[in-house]
C-alpha cells in the first residue's frame, strides 16, 4: 500500500503529516509505504491513498488515488479517524 502525504512544497507541512500518519498506522498495525511530497509531483505519481488538507484536495480530484482530508495535522484523534474511515486494516 502506498500513501502520499501532500503539501504545497513537500518540505514542512507534508512531513509533519507523514510523521503523524506513520505513527497512527503503526499503532493500528497497518503496513504502508508513506512518502511526503509536493503537490505538482504528486499529480503524476501513483498511490493508493493521498492524505492532504482541504485546500489542496481540490487540486487532486482527478488523481486515481483515494484522497483523504485532514484538517488538523496535530490532532491524532482526527488522523486516526481519517485512517479508520478510509483505509482497511
Amino acid at each position: 500500500m502506498k500513501i502520499l502525504c501532500v503539501c504545497g512544497l513537500g518540505q514542512g507541512t507534508s512531513l509533519i503529516l507523514r510523521m503523524n500518519v506513520e505513527q497512527a498506522l503503526g499503532e493500528k498495525g497497518i503496513m504502508a509505504d508513506v512518502e511526503h511530497i509536493d503537490l505538482s509531483s504528486a499529480t503524476s505519481m501513483s498511490a493508493d491513498y493521498i492524505i492532504t488538507s482541504n485546500e489542496l484536495a481540490e487540486s487532486l480530484q482527478d488523481h486515481p488515488a483515494k484522497v483523504i482530508i485532514v484538517n488538523n495535522y496535530f490532532d491524532m484523534d482526527e488522523i486516526n479517524a481519517a485512517i479508520e474511515n478510509n483505509i482497511p486494516a
Binding site: L56, N72, F74
Partner: protein, 145 residues
C-alpha cells in the same frame, strides 16, 4: 539547528495581513542569519501561489519555502500575533501562532520537525503558548530549564 531560541521568539507582534504575519516570523530567521532575506519573500510568494494549506491546525501556521530559496541552517522561529489574522483557511482560521520554518535538506531538518511535532501534538502545551508572557515561560513549556 536552531529551534525556538530566545532571539527566534517574539510575543504579541501586531500584523494586519497574512503577509505581514509571515514576514514578522521570517524576519527573525533573517536577523539570526539562518536564512537569506529572499527566503522570506519566497515564503510570502508560496502563500500567494499555494494558498493557506500551511495553516495546519486551529490558529497555527507554519509558513516556509524551499531549502534552495536561501536556508543556511535548519531552524524554527515563533511569533505570537497580537491579534489573530485571517489567512483564508476554511478549517483553521484565524491564525495567532506563526512558526516560520527554515526548511533545510540536512538531517537536522528532520530533528527540527520532530521537535515541532512533539510540541504541537500536545494540546496542553499549545494552550500554554497562547498564554505565556515571557521567553522564560516558553522555556518551561519546552522543558528547557
Amino acid at each position: 539547528m536552531k529551534f525556538l531560541e530566545e532571539k527566534l521568539v517574539a510575543l504579541d507582534i501586531p500584523a494586519e495581513t497574512p503577509e505581514a504575519a509571515i514576514k514578522a516570523a521570517g524576519d527573525l530567521l533573517v536577523a539570526s542569519d539562518l536564512v537569506e532575506s529572499g527566503y522570506v519573500e519566497a515564503m510570502v510568494e508560496s502563500y500567494r501561489e499555494n494558498g493557506p494549506y500551511f495553516v495546519l491546525a486551529p490558529q497555527i501556521a507554519l509558513p516556509h519555502a524551499r531549502p534552495e530559496d536561501g536556508v543556511k541552517e535548519a531552524s524554527v522561529a515563533f511569533v505570537r500575533l497580537k491579534d489573530p489574522v485571517v489567512f483564508g483557511s476554511a478549517a483553521n482560521d484565524p491564525v495567532s501562532l506563526v512558526f516560520a520554518l527554515g526548511a533545510s535538506t540536512s538531517d537536522e531538518h528532520l530533528v527540527v520537525m520532530k521537535e515541532l511535532v512533539m510540541l504541537l501534538n500536545n494540546p496542553e502545551k499549545v494552550e500554554r503558548l497562547k498564554n505565556i508572557n515571557s521567553y522564560e515561560e516558553l522555556k518551561i513549556v519546552l522543558g528547557r530549564n
